[in-house]
Symmetry: C2
Subunit: 208 residues, 2 copies
């Protein structure tokens, strides 16, 4: 397998954690998002969205969209599970993950901030947009998280895989996190695990 | 079950289709998004995100996030399936759905357009943002769709449940769809089915 990512992409970071938790080896290659390498023709053939990550499988298939990739890894390598067994709890974990992936990350990613700047907004205004989107979205996630130490109980799940990269982004944009004790406790539980710690942006070969 | 929705919410529309395809009865209640009813305290207890839909189960649980709700319905009522059996194809269907839910709908929904207007943009500028986000996102989806008549083969899937509401939105914002023949063919196959036709916004009791 080869994971095409970028050290600071939240979505690639989620998949790195999943690979580590599952104990799966993958080659890592990188597309530098700020240089636009994700829009090169040879990458658009793998991912017409022009986004990272993409997971290239041994059989020649390429998978995109981090949550779809993680569900694939969970279905094909079930241990340790990244979703609980009970359908209602699975739905709650997925909802938490989607609350981050859709309503926070997709609204504050580099592409959206670039669109704001193309409309005449300053970098400061774009940063404020990201800050406000993250702060509002994480406040809802604080209410969605359940009993600890992780977001949904005693083991890390898809929810935690989304939370940790989003908190990394939150700090980049100066979001105050004091009012989110459940999220911070889940993050601390995660970062004590090598699978999370080794997936951190600053530990990737393309980190600047 | 009770589905809390809004006739013109893409996300609620997806869940209506899923319920219809599964032959499941649900009561329908409505939160008028333009009047802000989704931010009332008694609704925020059900969904701290202040978004529709929410699915209230007989056992007292409430589920949020349309894709999580649909996966729940598919797991608890497996026929007809909304995801294929093969893990790679499941991942492709989910990726298509997420490409719409995250990178299109979440970036052009009412909440984001309201944020743009709060920054001083006109309604026309907000509409242009929605138009461009939808046009760019659907162009990627056109490349992601596979053999027809539906987005991924002979039966409707989670991908189609996301596509049809997004094309409805695309027309609202005047997006040109001629260059998307695969998406239009999948939509036509869907709208020939009562499960899709009866879920249309204009057929809901709260339609204006």
């Amino acid at each position: 397998m080869e994971l095409v990512g970028y050290y600071r992409s939240s979505a690639a970071y989620r998949v790195r954690i999943a690979l580590n938790l599952k104990g799966l080896e993958a080659q890592h290659s990188f597309r530098h998002l700020r240089r636009g390498e994700q829009r090169a023709a040879n990458y658009l053939r793998l991912n017409p969205q022009g986004l990272v990550p993409a997971l290239l499988l041994e059989n020649g298939h390429s998978l995109i969209q981090s949550l779809a990739i993680i569900e694939y890894l969970d279905e094909t390598h079930p241990n340790p599970p990244l979703l609980p067994a009970d359908p209602v709890t699975r739905a709650r974990v997925r909802a938490f993950a989607l609350a981050i992936a859709c309503e926070i990350h997709a609204v504050q990613n580099l592409k959206v901030l670039a669109r704001l700047k193309s409309m005449g907004h300053s970098q400061e205004e774009a940063n404020r947009w990201a800050h406000d989107t993250i702060a509002e979205g994480l406040a809802a996630c604080e209410a969605l998280a359940e009993s600890g130490p992780f977001c949904f109980g005693p083991a890390p799940s898809l929810a935690d895989l989304c939370l940790v990269p989003q908190l990394y982004n939150a700090r980049r944009f100066g979001v105050a996190l004091e009012a989110m004790p459940r999220l911070l406790a889940a993050e601390a539980a995660c970062l004590a695990l090598p699978a999370f710690a080794e997936a951190a942006p600053e530990r990737q070969p393309d980190a600047e």
